[in-house]
Structure formats: structure tokens, C-alpha cells
């Protein structure tokens, strides 16, 4: 169980090792403060969505023998959970989250749906599913935070105009990804 948790954070880190949620909206999320706020929201969304998809898959789709509808229903559940959590977050944390919710959501839909589908494909039980999703969410937020910190410093670094922005973020992610790889070895 603990190994599932650790591997979800480091070995199979969503952003850096599985390339989920790589979009300019998440990679250049603009500052450490915002990265922490969005990390928290992403954690809530991932947990709600994974739980909902798992329950739906186990208690509705499997008994009906309708696994070919998995993709379709995962998407619908994703929309429902994401929007409800984001509306809540916009209400509870207006200062950090105002006007952000649609922008944040699109880059992360990919990662949120990815976690839910990975849970189903690996055939996890309920407890494993919870542990795996929380590990994945923590790993994603950690990678986002590290990347935001690096990008904040790089903004003032000298360098070619061509590398600014996304190319720089991707090269930084390459280095982080290599670090994660060697840390676990």
C-alpha cells in the first residue's frame, strides 16, 4: 500500500513521468502562490472524481456488463465533479481563485481523467484507489510547485528570446523528470 503511494508520487509522477496535464495553462501557472492554491484544488478534484468514477464503474457499469461505455461515463463524471469542486473553490477562496476556474480546469482535465482511468485499468480496490489517487494528486501538485519555483527564477535569467516561455518550461521539466528518475533509483 505504501509502495503504491510512493510510486504514485515519484516513480509514476503524473506531470513529469506520465505527461498528463502538460499544457501552457499548468506549466506556466504563474508563481508559487498560485501553484499552491491550484495544487489544493486539484487534490480535491482528483479525489472526488476518482472516487465517483470508481464507484460508478464498480456498481453500475460492471453489473450491467457495459464496460465499453467507460470512456463516455468517465467524461461525464469528470465534468460534474470538476465543475462542482471549482464552483465551491471559487466561493470559498475568492481571493486566490477568482476568475481562474475555467483556465485552470482545462489543463488539468487531462490529469484528473488520467488518474481515474488508471485506477480502473489497474484494477485497484477501494482503499488502493484512494491511496493511489491521493499519491498522484500530491505528486502532481509537487511537480507543479517545483516547476513554478523554477520558472519564477528563470524569468530574470539571461537567455535567448526563443527559449523563453514554454520551451524553457519543458527543458526545466526534463531536468526535474531526470531528477525524479534518479531519486527513485
Amino acid at each position: 500500500m505504501f509502495s503504491v503511494f510512493l510510486s504514485a508520487i515519484f516513480v509514476n509522477n503524473l506531470l513529469l513521468r506520465q505527461f498528463l496535464g502538460v499544457c501552457p495553462g499548468t506549466m506556466l501557472c504563474g508563481g508559487v502562490r498560485k501553484a499552491i492554491a491550484s495544487g489544493g484544488v486539484i487534490f480535491c478534484i482528483m479525489m472526488c472524481n476518482s472516487t465517483a468514477s470508481w464507484l460508478f464503474d464498480r456498481y453500475v457499469l460492471l453489473p450491467l456488463n457495459a464496460e465499453h461505455l467507460q470512456i463516455l461515463f468517465s467524461v461525464l463524471i469528470l465534468l460534474t465533479t470538476t465543475w462542482s469542486v471549482e464552483v465551491l473553490a471559487a466561493k470559498l477562496l475568492p481571493s486566490v481563485y477568482a476568475g481562474e476556474h475555467f483556465r485552470l480546469s482545462y489543463g488539468t482535465h487531462c490529469a484528473v481523467l488520467g488518474v481515474a482511468l488508471l485506477n480502473l485499468r489497474k484494477g485497484y480496490g477501494f482503499a488502493e484507489m484512494l491511496v493511489h489517487s491521493s499519491g498522484a494528486a500530491i505528486g502532481f501538485s509537487l511537480a507543479l510547485l517545483l516547476l513554478a519555483g523554477i520558472m519564477e527564477r528563470l524569468r530574470f535569467a539571461p537567455g535567448s528570446e526563443r527559449l523563453k516561455g514554454m520551451p524553457q518550461a519543458l527543458v526545466a521539466a526534463a531536468v526535474l523528470s531526470a531528477v525524479f528518475h534518479f531519486v527513485v533509483l
Binding site: 513529469l16 505527461f19 499544457c23 506556466l28 463516455l72 482545462y106 481523467l113 520551451p167 526534463a174 523528470s177
Partner: protein, 204 residues
């Protein structure tokens, strides 16, 4: 974005535009997840690009048929359900006829649904497109979708080819860091992208 700035509103069909000047991956920064994750070889890149182009074209055609009938508030949901149906078709087809490629692409096939490229090229309602790296409201024709799909396919083959050739000399190119590095350097080589420059893409 173009529609907002009032330039280039002509409906003329120019697929070459989507391959070079507005390449979805290198210029618009759309669909970067599969561009990184599904391109360990040129063949994988081709399969991923072809599946995405198929979903893009079919979704674009179907959604433009039902667009008038759908209330605005549920537009995105209807759009995604249509896309999910075509993705299921692509998923089952690949699983039956090319199981090895299906295994190599893994989770990225169902994730075609939430690819920003599908939303923009398929003509999803505007509010869905404001995230990620997508350029605001614009309603693409079938020709646009064709060009985007082709541009995406060619970019994935290019990235896959670079990684495959690179990994013959340096194994790191086949691994995740190599994917980020390859895409980063290719993006830099392609020049200025349309968004995601110095500031977060939301401030455009």
C-alpha cells in the same frame, strides 16, 4: 484569437497554414500531452496522430450538425459526449486490429477526449476553450479540422522520429526526460509560439 483581433477572417481553405504557420503543436501549443507521451517511436506518433485526426474530423462534423439544437449551457457536455463516442470507436478499433500499438499508447487513447486540440478544432463552445493553451473563440470549418489534424499528425511523426533516432545513440531519448527535452528544443527551433510566451496564457 484571430477572430477577436479581426485579422484573417477569410474562409479560404489553406491546409498548409495549419502545418507550418499555425501548427497545433509547435505554434498553438495544443495537445502537448500526447505529443510527449505517445511519441517514443515514429510509428506510435503516427498512430496517435491518426486516431486524434479521426476523432477531430468526426466530432467537428457531428457537432456542427447538432450545434443549433443544443442549448448553450450544456454545449460543452454534449460536445464531449460526441467526442467520447468517437474515441470509444477509435479505442476499440485499435484494440482489435493493432493490439501492440494499443498497449503502447495506453492511457493516451481515452485521453483524446480531453485533448485541447479536439475542443478547438472540433468547435467546442467558447468557454471550454479558454483554458490550456487554446486560442479563444473561433469556429473551425471542416477544412480547418482537416488541416489541424494533418498538422498534428505530422508533428507527432516528427517528434517520434527525432526520439527514435536519438534513442539509437542516447537511450535517454526514449525515456520521459528525453521527451521533454526533445519537445522543448523543437519548440525553441520552431520559433515564437502564438501563446504561452513570457506570461501565463490567461493574460493574453
Amino acid at each position: 484569437m484571430r477572430a477577436q483581433h479581426g485579422e484573417d477572417l477569410s474562409p479560404s481553405f489553406h491546409p498548409v497554414r495549419w502545418i507550418f504557420r499555425e501548427n497545433p503543436v509547435f505554434r498553438l501549443l495544443l495537445g502537448l500531452c500526447p505529443a510527449l507521451g505517445a511519441t517514443s517511436t515514429a510509428m506510435n506518433g503516427f498512430a496517435m496522430g491518426a486516431a486524434t485526426a479521426f476523432v477531430l474530423l468526426c466530432t467537428n462534423a457531428t457537432f456542427s450538425l447538432v450545434k443549433r439544437l443544443v442549448p448553450r449551457t450544456v454545449g460543452i457536455a454534449v460536445f464531449l459526449v460526441i467526442a467520447a463516442a468517437y474515441v470509444s470507436i477509435a479505442d476499440m478499433t485499435l484494440k482489435t486490429f493493432a493490439p501492440s500499438i494499443h498497449r503502447a499508447l495506453g492511457i493516451f487513447i481515452p485521453l483524446i477526449v480531453v485533448n485541447c486540440l479536439i475542443l478547438v478544432g472540433g468547435g467546442a463552445p467558447a468557454s471550454a476553450c479558454s483554458g490550456g493553451g487554446a486560442p479563444g473563440a473561433f469556429s473551425p470549418s471542416f477544412a480547418d479540422a482537416f488541416g489541424m489534424g494533418l498538422g498534428f499528425l505530422l508533428s507527432l511523426v516528427l517528434i517520434g522520429a527525432v526520439r527514435q533516432i536519438g534513442s539509437a545513440y542516447l537511450p535517454v531519448f526514449g525515456m520521459p526526460p528525453g521527451a521533454f527535452l526533445t519537445l522543448g528544443l523543437l519548440l525553441a527551433a520552431a520559433g515564437r509560439s502564438r501563446n504561452g510566451k513570457n506570461e501565463p496564457s490567461g493574460k493574453r
